[in-house]
């Protein structure tokens, strides 16, 4: 009370400082009591600052339903690979080959659907099963190639840096053994839906259903986690914190669905749809909500599955144990070599998923597909709090990291910042984010 009664004697700066420190103390206490992952929260705050900042500078062009929808699709492919890169880095390894591997897998999948299935099997283009055969073959090849790199690393004793550096050259080079490296296009029309676009989205009601399922899952997982803590006598969050967390998380999910539905189909596509389905468009044109794009849905599923594998399955815990202390993990009875090989195999599968999304989105396979993606993927994982010293990393963090990176890129494009300047900004942000993280971690002890 004393500060309030004596405002005249304090300078405005002191008052501001006092208020800030009280707010930050209260916030810190609140966060501690509510038991929230501060790193994830910090990233969310940074993301909000970036978004609001771009929105102000661009005169309101950033926080539109359409731009946020674009952003979600543009982030998906890097985010998916970043979830795998987290496990690779946690196990004290690195995978430099993901960009080249993505290019190789994407190019192979294009060959399968444009040449091998239509000509090899003699069934022609555009079969209803073309896309699924293509994707399955791609996933399988990704697992084999990734697993091969893991095998050489784990059993051959070659450092993963070297193995995947070799992979970076080999997989890119192998693209040229197909069709002399021509651009392959167009893709199968069903396969193209994997790349998003208004037609490659699930629409209004399915999006709401996904959102509601998401909410139910969040509520259940909070409840189960609380029950588990009670059973083992761990400290629990106060009930108000539990309720607030549930409201915020559910609100975020339903808000995201609302935004995706607030972006209507482009007028031309809607008019075409109305014509094809014999609908008389109302004055002002037919409004079709777009909903969640298929690649974004894939990204969400991959994030959930990978988080589950990383934190709830023995395999995931083994990876973290290996990264924390390889020797102890091995002596503790973990088959570290097999685990490592599987980590790289999983990374290969995720590369195939992203390759399908990128080729479907571009409607073509080009020799430069995925060039330098390894840098974006590693950056996303590291911005998301994955530590190069091993044993520390978060899958949702990596996804957020990918969104942060893509937000910077898309925002700067909206502001007409030239490519070299974009690189400078992204580079500085990368180093600053990791530096800040290290500083905070040291201070916290």
């Amino acid at each position: 009370m004393s500060e309030i009664s004596t405002p005249a004697r304090m300078s405005p700066l002191d008052r501001l400082r006092g208020a800030l420190s009280r707010v930050s103390q209260a916030a810190t206490a609140g966060i501690r009591v509510a038991d929230i992952d501060t790193r994830l929260l910090g990233m969310l705050v940074a993301l909000v600052i970036i978004w609001v900042g771009f929105n102000i500078v661009s005169g309101g062009a950033f926080l539109t339903a359409r731009n946020l929808w674009n952003l979600s699709v543009q982030s998906a492919s890097i985010a998916i690979m970043a979830t795998g890169m987290v496990l690779v880095i946690v196990s004290r390894n690195i995978d430099l080959s993901v960009g080249s591997l993505l290019g190789f897998l994407g190019y192979t999948m294009a060959m399968i659907q444009i040449f091998w299935i239509p000509d090899g099997l003699g069934v022609g283009l555009e079969q209803p099963y073309t896309w699924i055969l293509t994707v399955l073959a791609g996933l399988l090849l990704g697992a084999v190639v990734g697993g091969l790199q893991g095998f050489v690393t784990a059993y051959g004793g070659v450092p993963s840096f070297i193995v995947t550096l070799g992979g970076l050259l080999v997989w890119r080079g192998l693209i040229f053994s197909y069709a002399d490296g021509q651009t392959l296009a167009p893709m199968d029309s069903t396969y193209r839906l994997l790349g998003g676009g208004p037609t490659g989205s699930i629409g209004e009601w399915p999006s709401w259903i996904v959102g509601i399922i998401g909410c139910v899952v969040i509520l259940l997982s909070l409840w189960f986690s609380r029950r588990r803590k009670r059973r083992y006598g761990f400290p629990m969050r106060p009930i108000w914190a539990e309720a607030a967390l549930a409201i915020v998380l559910c609100g975020a999910v339903l808000g995201a669905v609302w935004v995706s539905n607030a972006y209507p189909w482009p007028a031309n596509l809607a008019a075409q749809y109305a014509e094809d389905h014999g609908i008389t468009p109302p004055p002002g044109g037919l409004i079709i909500p777009t909903g969640i794009a298929i690649p974004v849905l894939i990204m969400i599923v991959v994030t959930i599955v990978m988080s589950y594998i990383a934190t709830r399955r023995r395999f995931g815990r083994n990876v973290f144990a290996m990264g924390g202390n390889p020797e102890a993990a091995r002596l503790g009875g973990i088959n570290t070599r097999r685990t490592l090989m599987l980590v790289f195999g999983l990374m290969g599968v995720l590369c195939a998923v992203s390759a399908a999304i990128q080729t479907a989105r571009l409607n073509a396979a080009v020799t430069g597909l995925g060039v330098q993606n390894e840098l974006d993927v590693i950056s996303a994982a590291v911005i998301g709090g994955t530590s190069f010293s091993g044993g520390i990393g978060s899958i949702p963090g990596a996804v957020l990291g990918a969104v942060v990176m893509q937000s910077l890129r898309s925002g700067m494009l909206l502001l007409h910042v030239e490519a070299p300047t974009q690189d400078i900004v992204v580079g500085i942000v990368l180093v600053a984010a990791v530096g800040l993280d290290a500083l905070l971690r040291r201070r916290r002890g």
Binding site: S58, A61, T64, R66, N67, N70, Q74, L125, L148, F151, V152, Y155, G156, G157, V158, G166, V170, G173, L174, F176, S177, Y178, D180, G181, Q182, T183, L184, A185, P186, G196, G197, P198, P266, A267, N268, L269, A270, A271, Q272, Q358, R361, L362, N363, A364, V366, T367, G368, L369, V371, Q372, R409, S410, L413, L414, H416, E418, A419, P420, D423
Partner: protein
């Protein structure tokens, strides 16, 4: 642990062998050409900057070789793998192997100069192949890239002469990006940051590595920013045009907004037939190889580049007046698709895939 280690080694060997499998054998389509003044036991060396790109092996090299074979000259080559330092080393090696004429596809127009000087000092004439070398001692053999830009802009302006234009440029460090942009200005499109009474540039950017996926993202952002009010797109090559068309398709605008390109990519020529790309400026790399080979054959007889037949002068951005052989590109639109068919550049099946029969003359 012995067996897994052996297996790992085996796996490595497998990868290496797989990588060494030859892609395809290049075909030569040499026609009888009149080259004069060649001598036997002349060695012509080519320093490639990055032989891994498809066109050099497939289109350029066989025609250089064919022109040299006609006069009985020998062909040697080296590949620098996109490295300036490696290219300097390559050129030293080629000179010490006894090259009499040097053809250079320069990785970098500036850093190549000491190597060019070294060759000229030894009395070896130099041909700057496809990419500019800023030296008056080198013969510049290329397509006229400013002209390519003019042709792209002319074809697009014929469809839409006013409104909001988007310009997707290639790599900022590549001189060709700016040559093409100069061509747009020559054809009546405003320069960067300016606008005319009829044309407003609502989006313009360089694209790292001419990356099609990046071009798609750029186009999406320009469409978002302008609420789809884009009337024409000048894309500097076919790969990026593919990304642009994919972005337009997602908005239901493909085929309504003119898009340019160059290189004669199979997929791009198909887009021209489909109507989603307006123009593809085609540079027949086989003719370029032929022209360089014939020039090299002449230099075998007389190392003076000024004496080579059919040369003109070219004022370079660096202020040099270069002796050059500049070939004219051809603008391919829906009206003259038969040109690429007749040249066996593309098969009718590839060109007409998905095209409604009879909608264009080349796809009956």
């Amino acid at each position: 642990m012995r067996i897994p280690r052996l297996a790992a080694l085996g796996a490595v060997v497998t990868i290496v062998l797989a990588a060494c499998t030859p892609g395809s054998s290049a075909t030569s389509s040499a026609s009888a050409g009149g080259s004069t003044g060649g001598t036997a036991d002349c060695t012509v060396a080519v320093s490639w900057n990055n032989y891994q790109e498809e066109r050099w092996a497939l289109r350029d090299e066989p025609n250089i070789k064919a022109a040299l074979e006609e006069v009985g000259a020998q062909y040697i080559s080296a590949d620098a793998g996109s490295s300036e330092e490696q290219q300097a080393t390559d050129i030293e090696n080629l000179l010490s192997q006894g090259a009499d004429v040097l053809i250079i596809l320069a990785q970098n127009t500036e850093t190549i100069l000491p190597s060019v000087q070294a060759a000229v000092d030894q009395g070896v004439p130099v041909i700057g192949y496809d990419r500019l070398i800023e030296s008056e001692d080198a013969l510049y053999v290329s397509f006229d890239n400013v002209r390519v830009g003019e042709m792209q802009a002319e074809a697009v302006l014929e469809q839409v002469s006013e409104g909001n234009f988007v310009i997707i440029k290639g790599n900022g460090a590549d001189a060709n990006s700016d040559f093409l942009r100069q061509g747009y200005v020559n054809a009546g499109v405003p320069a960067e940051g300016e606008s005319s009474d009829t044309i407003t540039i609502v989006g313009e950017t360089y694209t790292d590595n001419w990356d099609p996926a990046l071009a798609q993202t750029e186009m999406e952002q320009f469409l978002t920013e302008n609420d789809n009010n884009v009337d024409a797109v000048l894309s500097e090559n076919d790969g990026m045009a593919g990304g642009v068309v994919a972005a337009l398709e997602a908005q239901g605008l493909a085929g309504q907004v003119p898009v340019s390109g160059q290189d004669g990519d199979i997929a791009a020529l198909n887009r021209v037939a489909l109507g989603t790309q307006t123009v593809d400026v085609w540079k027949d790399a086989r003719e370029l190889g032929r022209a360089a080979g014939e020039a090299a054959a002449q230099l075998c007889g007389n190392p003076d580049i000024a004496a080579v037949a059919d040369t003109t002068t070219f004022d370079s951005p660096g202020g040099n007046t270069l002796t050059s052989i500049l070939l004219d590109p051809i603008a391919i639109t829906q009206d003259n698709l038969d040109v690429v068919l007749d040249a066996d550049w593309i098969t009718p099946e590839d060109l007409c895939q998905g095209v409604e029969a009879g909608s264009v003359a080349a796809c009956p």
